[in-house]
C-alpha cells in the first residue's frame, strides 16, 4: 500500500448575513440590554422571535419586551467546553423560557456543577461587557433567586438608534485532508518532477491526474503509468484579467495540455512564447521552479506542431 499523504485543511469564512425587521430589532435590543419577543396571532409570545409563525406561516411583526429572567425548561451539563462555546469553564447548556415568553431560548448557564442545575430553576441574563448586536451579547445565564419579571410583556416599537442590520458570524473548521491512494501517488511523483497517471483495466485509457476510478467504466484504476514530460496544447484561452495575489503579467495563456501517453488533458500556463502565437497542436514541456511541487508553466519544445488527428479526441 502506497503511503497516503495528509495535510491540515482549514475552512474559514465570515458568514455575513443581513437581518429582517424582527431579527434586527431583537439583536439590536440585546445590544441595549432589552429582550424582545414577537406575538403571534393567537397571542403566543415567541422568544427568540421569528418573522413568520412556525404554525400558521403568517407574518409576525408585533414586538413585545420580555424579562431578562426566566425558567430553565431543559438542560445538559457540558464538562468539556469546546472552542467558541460561550464559556471556557464547564457549564450547562440550557433552554430558558424568559418571563413573558411561551417558547425557550438556547444559551449557556454558568453554574458550579450539574448538582446546581435543574429543570425549573430560575435564571437571569448575564450581559456581555461589550455588546455588538448578536446572540453572544448574552454572555450566559446565571442562577437567580429574585422576583419574577412582569407577567404580561409590554408592547415595544422595536425602534433603536443605529439599528443592527446584519451579522458576521465567523466560522472555522479544522480538517486533516487525505487525498487517498491515487492522488497521493500523483503528488509524490511530482516531487520528483515526474507526472503519473493511472490506466483503466477495461478501456485502457490513462487518466491524469488519477483519481482512482475510470469515469466511463466506473471501476478502479490501479496500473500506474508515467506520462509526458512533453505534451500537446489541445485548446487554450488568453487571460486579460489580473488575478488577485497572482504575480503574472497579463495577457497570458492558459491551456489544456495532453501529456504524451495521457488520455485526458490537464491545465497549465504557457510561457516562453508571445501570447498571440500560442496555437492548438503546439508541442510544450514543463518548466519547474526551484523547489516547486508542480510545474510553474509549460514552454514550447521547438518540435513541429502535432497533427490534429493525434489529439482531436482529447479536445
Amino acid at each position: 500500500m502506497t503511503d497516503v499523504l495528509s495535510a491540515p485543511l482549514v475552512v474559514e469564512f465570515p458568514f455575513t448575513r443581513s437581518l429582517g425587521p424582527v431579527q434586527s430589532a431583537f439583536l439590536t435590543g440585546l445590544r441595549e440590554r432589552t429582550v424582545l419577543g414577537v406575538r403571534t396571532d393567537d397571542g403566543t409570545v415567541l422568544v427568540p422571535p421569528v418573522e413568520y409563525d412556525p404554525v400558521t406561516a403568517s407574518e409576525l411583526r408585533e414586538l413585545v419586551e420580555v424579562a431578562a429572567t426566566g425558567t430553565v425548561t431543559t438542560w445538559a451539563w457540558n464538562p468539556s467546553p469546546r472552542r467558541n462555546q460561550p464559556l471556557d469553564t464547564p457549564f450547562a447548556w440550557v433552554l430558558v423560557r424568559l418571563d413573558g415568553a411561551a417558547t425557550a431560548l438556547l444559551h449557556a448557564l454558568d453554574a458550579p456543577g450539574p448538582a446546581a442545575v435543574h429543570t425549573g430553576m430560575r435564571v437571569r441574563i448575564r450581559w456581555a461587557a461589550t455588546r455588538t448586536g448578536a446572540i453572544t451579547d448574552i454572555a450566559c445565564f446565571e442562577p437567580y433567586d429574585g422576583e419574577a419579571g412582569p407577567g404580561q410583556p409590554a408592547p415595544h416599537e422595536g425602534e433603536f438608534a443605529d439599528p443592527v442590520t446584519g451579522i458576521a458570524a465567523p466560522a472555522r473548521l479544522d480538517y486533516v485532508h487525505t487525498p487517498g491512494r491515487a492522488q497521493s501517488a500523483y503528488l509524490k511523483a511530482l516531487e520528483g518532477h515526474r507526472t503519473v497517471g493511472e490506466r483503466c483495466p477495461a478501456c485502457r485509457k490513462v487518466y491524469v491526474p488519477p483519481r482512482g476510478a475510470c469515469p466511463t467504466c466506473g471501476i478502479a484504476t490501479e496500473e500506474e503509468v508515467e506520462v509526458g514530460p512533453r505534451g500537446t496544447v489541445t485548446t487554450f484561452c488568453i487571460v486579460n484579467i489580473k488575478a488577485k495575489n497572482l504575480d503574472i503579467e497579463v495577457p497570458y495563456v492558459y491551456a489544456h495540455i495532453a501529456l504524451d501517453g495521457a488520455d485526458l488533458a490537464l491545465h497549465g500556463r504557457i510561457a516562453g512564447i508571445p501570447y498571440d502565437q500560442v496555437r492548438m497542436g503546439l508541442r510544450v514541456e514543463p518548466v519547474w521552479a526551484e523547489g516547486a511541487r508542480h510545474p510553474d508553466h509549460y514552454r514550447p519544445t521547438g518540435e513541429p506542431d502535432a497533427d490534429y488527428d493525434t489529439y482531436k479526441e482529447l479536445v
Binding site: 458568514f15 464538562p79 491512494r181
Partner: protein, 350 residues
C-alpha cells in the same frame, strides 16, 4: 400508481477512519456489489441519486469526486441531495413513480474522520441565534434526553439498556463499527454518556430501486415500498416539544405505517434517547423488533446511516426474515427532519 421496490443493498464495513481511501475508493465496492447482485450494468440504470455533505469533507462540490465511481461518462441522469441518502432514495422513488425511470441507483457516503463532526454539524444550525454559540450535536441531543427524563419517559438506566441491546444485536452485523459489551462510560454531555452516543466513523451504502416486473426479475423477494413520506419540525428548538416527534408520526401516517403492525423497525436514532422519542411517535410495541442491525448506535456514517436503515429493513425482507418493516431516517438536530417508509415482502401483500 407503480409498485417500486428496493431490490439490492450493500454497505461498507464502517470504520473509525479510512485515510487510505478517497470517497470514490470507499464507494466503488458497494456500487459494484449492488450492481452485481442485480446483474445490471451501470449504463442500464435509469436514474442515479446520491446523498453526502460538503461540510464533512471540508470541500465544495465534494460529491462530484464520487461520480467517477458510477461511470458518469457518457452522460447519465443524475442528481444529488446535500443530505442523508434516505432523501436521495425518496427523490429516486419519485422519479420512478412519475415514470421517468424504471430503475435507480441510490448511494451515499460520509467520512467523519477528517474533521470534528460534533463541531461540523453545528454549522447546519440557524446562523442568527444558534450557530454563534457552537452548540455541538451531542449537547443538543443531551438537552432532548434531559427533557425526556424530566417528563418521566426514560431514565439513565433505560437509556443504557437501549445502548446495550443495540450493541449486542450488532454482534451479528459484520458491517457494524461498535459491537458487544460497550461500557456506558462517563458523561459526554450530561445526561448522555459515551455509551449513549454513536461511534464516529466513515462508511458508504448503496441500494437499487426498481419498478414492477423489473423488480421481480432482479430480486427473488423485492422489498416493496408501500409508502414513504418525510416531514420537518419548526426550526427553533425552543418552539418544539423535544419529548415528541410529530413530524415522524405524520410521515408515518402518510406512509401507511399505522394500517397494520410491522414486525421490524429500523430506526435512525444516533442517540439512545432518540429511540425513546421514535418508539413513542411510531407507537411501537414489544411485537416490533427494533434495530436488529444494531442501528446507528453501532455504526453512524453521517449521511449514509439513514439510507442504511432503509437498506437493512429491505435486506431482512429479501432474506425472508421480515414481511412488513418500517424504516426511518432523520436529519438535523434533535430529530428535526424525519422520513418514514413502509416496506413489505410479496407474501404480506395479500
Amino acid at each position: 400508481m407503480r409498485d417500486v421496490a428496493i431490490v439490492a443493498f450493500a454497505q461498507t464495513a464502517h470504520r473509525r477512519r479510512t485515510d487510505e481511501l478517497s470517497e470514490v475508493d470507499l464507494l466503488m465496492p458497494v456500487l459494484h456489489e449492488v450492481l452485481g447482485a442485480t446483474g445490471l450494468k451501470a449504463n442500464e440504470i435509469g436514474f442515479t441519486c446520491s446523498g453526502s455533505a460538503d461540510y464533512l469533507a471540508g470541500r465544495a462540490f465534494s460529491f462530484t469526486m464520487a461520480l467517477d465511481g458510477v461511470g458518469a461518462h457518457p452522460p447519465i441522469s443524475e442528481s444529488h441531495v446535500e443530505m442523508d441518502g434516505a432523501w436521495a432514495l425518496y427523490e429516486a422513488w419519485v422519479k420512478i413513480m412519475t415514470g421517468e425511470a424504471d430503475t435507480a441507483l441510490v448511494y451515499s457516503y460520509g467520512k467523519s474522520s477528517p474533521g470534528e463532526v460534533r463541531d461540523v454539524l453545528s454549522r447546519q444550525l440557524d446562523p442568527y441565534y444558534l450557530a454563534p454559540l457552537w452548540p455541538d450535536s451531542v449537547a443538543l441531543a443531551a438537552l432532548q434526553a434531559q427533557a425526556l427524563i424530566d417528563a418521566g419517559d426514560t431514565d439513565e438506566t433505560a437509556l443504557a439498556e437501549i445502548a446495550a441491546r443495540s450493541r449486542a444485536d450488532a454482534t451479528a452485523n459484520p458491517y457494524a463499527q461498535l459491537t458487544g459489551d460497550v461500557p456506558a462510560g462517563d458523561h459526554l454531555v450530561h445526561p448522555l454518556r459515551t455509551g449513549d452516543c454513536p461511534p464516529i466513523g466513515d462508511g458508504a451504502a448503496a441500494v437499487i430501486l426498481a419498478a414492477g416486473d423489473t423488480a421481480r426479475a432482479l430480486c427473488a423477494r423485492p422489498a416493496w415500498i408501500r409508502g414513504i413520506d418525510h416531514r420537518i419540525e419548526a426550526h427553533s428548538l425552543g418552539v418544539r416539544d423535544l419529548t415528541d416527534s410529530p413530524s415522524t408520526r405524520l410521515a408515518a401516517q402518510h406512509a401507511g405505517a399505522f394500517e397494520r403492525p410491522a414486525d421490524t423497525a429500523e430506526l435512525h436514532a444516533p442517540f439512545t434517547s432518540q429511540e425513546v422519542v421514535l418508539r413513542k411517535a411510531l407507537g411501537l410495541g414489544d411485537d416490533t423488533r427494533v434495530n436488529p442491525s444494531g442501528g446507528a448506535l453501532a455504526a453512524n456514517p453521517v449521511m449514509a446511516a439513514g439510507l442504511i436503515r432503509l437498506g437493512e429493513a429491505a435486506a431482512r425482507i429479501h432474506r425472508g426474515e421480515s414481511d412488513r418493516a418500517l424504516a426511518h431516517a432523520t436529519s438535523g438536530p434533535c430529530l428535526q427532519q424525519n422520513l418514514v417508509a413502509v416496506l413489505e415482502g410479496e407474501s404480506a401483500h395479500v
